[in-house]
């Protein structure tokens, strides 16, 4: 993985010192809140319902065991012993004191971590496929390009005060595991007929109150033009993006109002000016960055094939975990392991300091010291020998990290919701816990198959409800919580925005409604291989409306 150079170290150290001074001046009263607020936000410090919240960047979701142990240390020393992994591959602490914040950021800087650009109207943490560099179906590793974008966008003077925040995601496989079509810019790494690396460029996707699927504005952008073309997009957005209305300020609105074709034309005009400028990526630089992300030296471990089959036969729990949480690696002797942060009835994305330490230990011993955070709020060990899977599983057992539910109905995404968030209108976590408990039996989950439930506690959609196969949006109606259900959303290479199925449900009726939807699906699917999303796309909403509201239900 990428290692800081002298510039990176000096830059982060300077920012920590600068913020330490700002916090001291704030606490002494020298700085007023109005002046301080934008400064703290630039360093990832929010004020939530109960306390300050610190959002720490995990660039493209990649970290090592040393960094994970530091997160555990921060959780233990400055927080309440846990952290929350987010849908943007970041980590949030819910209870740090403002007076401790400089110490936290200093500690993080010793392991090359920070909270810069995790808030504000700037280019946020660049996200990527959590299986990057390991997936068998990958054309190229997206992380070197995400790193190039990170370096380019960090405190970029031209793009630090955009009309609104800006999110970029990169995927390196046809199977989109980074939800690129619901990002401001989505980059799909691909090869052209000549075998050259480039990008399909999608612009103007997003969720929130106005969900939009990004438009393809360039089918193949040569690798060397990554920064010049991205700069061109940013310039068009910075110039024409709306600043008069916060709710219409994202690039998705500009794309929608301008039209993708016209916007692409404007980008091409800018790009023509920039194409051969200093922004052109030198091949040597790309190669240098790419070397940081080279596969570890992975010895042949063919013995895993035989022993894996034997272990699976002997232990049903292990077999289920392998079946659900281990994916094929590009090296056939290895697998990619998902460590579920969705224990049955638990809080999606939360991990205690002890759990973080366990993951760090396992990563160091069995996974070449690499850990990823997925946007689905799980942790990934991208390189584990099949021969070591049994040992890894044994280490996870009894820690709350061994749940075999990746991609199943209990692998629920949920934002912090009204239990923490100052913007939320309704709770997300207790609802996720109730649904998880209702469907928690392994047999029932297996029968239902792949089904992604995503829950947001407000229209900002941090819980990605728009792209949930079943999405739940909490709203406040007459002072009480109410949940809208959407069906048919998807955040993959066939992205779709879920459709509202009908009137909302009271909190105590939602899980029953989910059960009705699931039972309806089980009754109409062609066979067990037809997953919920495929069945919904085949039959549409009506059978579900009928089941939820009666056969006389009208289209919502």
């Amino acid at each position: 993985m990428y290692r800081y150079d002298e510039f990176d170290h000096a830059f982060v150290a300077e920012r920590v010192a600068q913020f330490r001074d700002q916090v001291e001046r704030r606490l002494s009263g020298e700085l007023a809140e109005d002046a301080f607020k934008p400064l703290r936000l630039m360093n990832g410090v929010y004020l939530q319902l109960h306390a300050y919240m610190l959002r720490i960047a995990i660039p493209y979701g990649t970290l090592n065991s040393k960094q994970m142990r530091m997160l555990a240390h921060v959780a233990r020393t400055y927080d309440r012993g846990y952290g929350h992994f987010t849908t943007r591959q970041n980590l949030q602490f819910n209870w740090p004191k403002l007076s401790d914040m400089p110490a936290v950021l200093h500690d993080l800087s010793t392991v090359e971590m920070h909270a810069i650009q995790t808030s504000g109207n700037c280019i946020r943490n660049v996200t990527a496929d959590h299986f990057a560099g390991a997936a068998a179906d990958e054309v190229a590793d997206p992380r070197p390009y995400a790193e190039i974008l990170r370096q380019w966008s960090s405190v970029h003077p031209e793009f630090s005060l955009l009309p609104r925040k800006f999110k970029i995601a990169v995927t390196g496989a046809e199977r989109d595991r980074a939800a690129i079509q619901v990002h401001d810019i989505g980059l799909h790494l691909k090869k052209n007929d000549k075998g050259e690396i480039g990008f399909a460029v999608y612009v103007g996707g997003g969720q929130g109150r106005t969900p939009m699927i990004a438009k393809l504005i360039r089918d193949f952008l040569p690798e060397e033009d990554l920064l010049s073309y991205t700069t061109a997009v940013m310039r068009v957005y910075n110039l024409h993006g709306r600043r008069d209305n916060k709710y219409k300020a994202r690039i998705k609105i500009l794309v929608h109002e301008t039209g993708a074709e016209e916007l692409a034309r404007q980008v091409e005009v800018e790009f023509a000016q920039l194409k051969d400028s200093e922004l052109k990526l030198p091949d040597a630089d790309v190669q240098a960055i790419t070397r940081y992300f080279a596969l570890p030296d992975m010895p042949e471990r063919p013995e895993g094939w035989e022993s894996l089959a034997r272990w699976k036969k002997a232990d049903e729990d292990f077999a289920r975990w392998v079946q659900q949480n281990v994916q094929p690696h590009k090296n056939p002797d290895y697998g990619m392991v998902t460590i579920s942060l969705k224990p049955i009835g638990g809080i999606p994305g939360d991990a205690t300091d002890a759990q973080m330490e366990i993951v760090a230990d396992i990563a160091e011993e069995f996974a070449f010291d690499e850990i990823r955070v997925s946007h689905e709020q799980n942790l990934i060990l991208p390189h584990v020998a099949l021969a070591d899977l049994e040992s890894v599983f044994r280490r996870l057992q009894g820690t709350g990290l061994e749940t075999a539910n990746a991609g199943l109905i209990t692998d629920i995404i949920a934002c912090p919701g009204l239990d923490y968030c100052a913007l939320a209108n309704a709770r997300s976590i207790p609802l996720a816990q109730e649904i998880s408990s209702r469907f928690g039996s392994a047999e029932r989950q297996a029968e239902i198959g792949e089904l992604k439930i995503k829950i947001s506690g407000c229209i900002n959609a941090c819980g990605h409800h728009h792209v949930g196969h079943i999405g739940l949006l909490g709203v406040e109606k007459k002072g009480a919580e109410l949940y809208q259900i959407t069906l048919g959303g998807s955040g993959d290479e066939h992205t779709s925005i879920g459709e509202i199925v009908g009137r909302g449900f009271d909190p105590d009726k939602v899980t029953d409604a989910i059960e009705t939807i699931v039972n309806t699906y089980l009754g109409l699917r062609l066979d067990p291989s037809e997953i919920f999303l495929a069945a919904y796309r085949r039959v549409g909403p009506q059978p579900f409306k009928d089941a939820l509201y009666g056969s006389a239900a009208e289209a919502a």
Partner: protein, 104 residues
């Protein structure tokens, strides 16, 4: 008129606080000073502005409450959760919000 109390978050640690009858910022809603007429509300607002200007607290708000049998109960769910903390078990050693208070 709906009863009101003054709430904010403490500057140093961000913890939710309420103004009590002694003029102190308390971490308990139940000791909060209740304003029952417009002049008292205006006084609360003035105190809030001063505390904000003096850098003691941030995010200062006057909120609606109902007092029943000596228990102060915010009308908005958001404020009940602020008063009681998260409504699910989230960390060992930290109490869970009372469901009766939250959902009543």
């Amino acid at each position: 008129m709906v009863d009101k109390v003054l709430t904010a978050n403490r500057l140093t640690d961000g913890i939710s606080v309420w103004l009590d009858a002694n003029g102190q910022w308390s971490t308990s809603l139940q000791g909060a000073l209740v304003a029952r007429h417009p002049e008292a509300v205006a006084a609360l607002e003035a105190i809030g502005k001063r505390a904000y200007a003096e850098n003691k607290v941030v995010d200062v708000n006057v909120i609606d409450v109902q007092e029943t049998e000596g228990v102060l109960w915010p009308l908005r769910l958001r404020e009940r959760i602020r008063a009681e903390g998260p409504t699910m078990e989230y960390a060992p050693g930290y109490p869970i919000a009372d469901p009766k208070f939250i959902d009543a």
